[in-house]
Subunit: 162 residues, 2 copies
């Protein structure tokens, strides 16, 4: 099972794909979609949408896991973040991927063992869990962490019949 | 020029299309996309996206105008609203429509003459400006109002060379 993890952001959206074979996790790809160069906010949403469509086209994941971002500081930034997330979720759904949501806390818990882990700890743990040579960028690592989080939940979800 | 107006919402998304021929405005269609029945929030985004894609497919608008919603009460609802808006904007953009943003104030100003107009005033003015027989629902009227707002700005935008 190939799992696409997405860490949406209005400036940088991270993505990462892991493959789960039984209890084993393998690395497929990761990267970032950068939109800061777009003058127009709406155009950023299209860049996120099309960037993720391209990743899905190329790597054919079976399912998507998207970080849920309820920690926005204020309504204005939540609205921007929300739009980026909406563009990302729709990219996955319209390619017929099921989308699972995980809070930042659940993601950190899954990769680092506790919900307050900082970005560097997440990066290091992702590197270790997937046996990477070198560190992915913070946004790509977050996306891989979301994918790993879903991998850990798959058996649990199966047991619940979802 | 056919203008698609969109009033995005995570439960109800209104849409309306008007046709502008010189200074004349005509009514093409309007309606709502209801997502409240979806258990899953992500599925709501897909319903919005696919619903708007279908409207665009059927009525072939030339441009889209989307209400910008910065009046959300709190980050949590802003995040939901933002995701609905992101799904709507991406539907328009990936069908190659330019997307223009208008604040609720600009929309009310355009149809009712002042920025504090209430929902019923907007409904009545939309009905009058488009010569409708009967009142569209509040969400559909809001979407038509956004389209009318863009129609009023078209000449201005042209003068600015946009």
């Amino acid at each position: 099972m190939r799992i696409l993890g997405i860490d949406p952001g209005s400036r940088v959206t991270g993505y990462g794909i892991v493959v789960k074979q039984g209890p084993e996790l393998g690395f497929v790809t990761c990267g970032t979609i950068r939109t800061a160069g777009e003058r127009d906010f709406s155009r950023r949403l299209l860049v996120i949408f099309e960037g993720l469509c391209q990743v899905i086209e190329q790597h054919r994941p079976d399912v998507a896991a998207v970080e849920d971002l309820f920690l926005a500081r204020n309504p204005r930034s939540a609205l921007k973040l929300g739009q980026a997330r909406g563009a990302a979720v729709v990219a996955a759904l319209q390619r017929r991927l099921a989308v699972h949501d995980y809070t930042p806390r659940m993601v950190k818990q899954a990769v680092a063992g506790y919900g307050q882990a900082d970005k560097e700890q997440v990066q290091r743990m992702v590197e270790m869990l997937l046996g990477l040579n070198g560190s992915p960028s913070s946004d790509a690592a977050d996306a891989l962490a979301v994918a790993i989080c879903h991998a850990n939940h798959v058996d649990h979800l199966a047991a619940l019949g979802r």
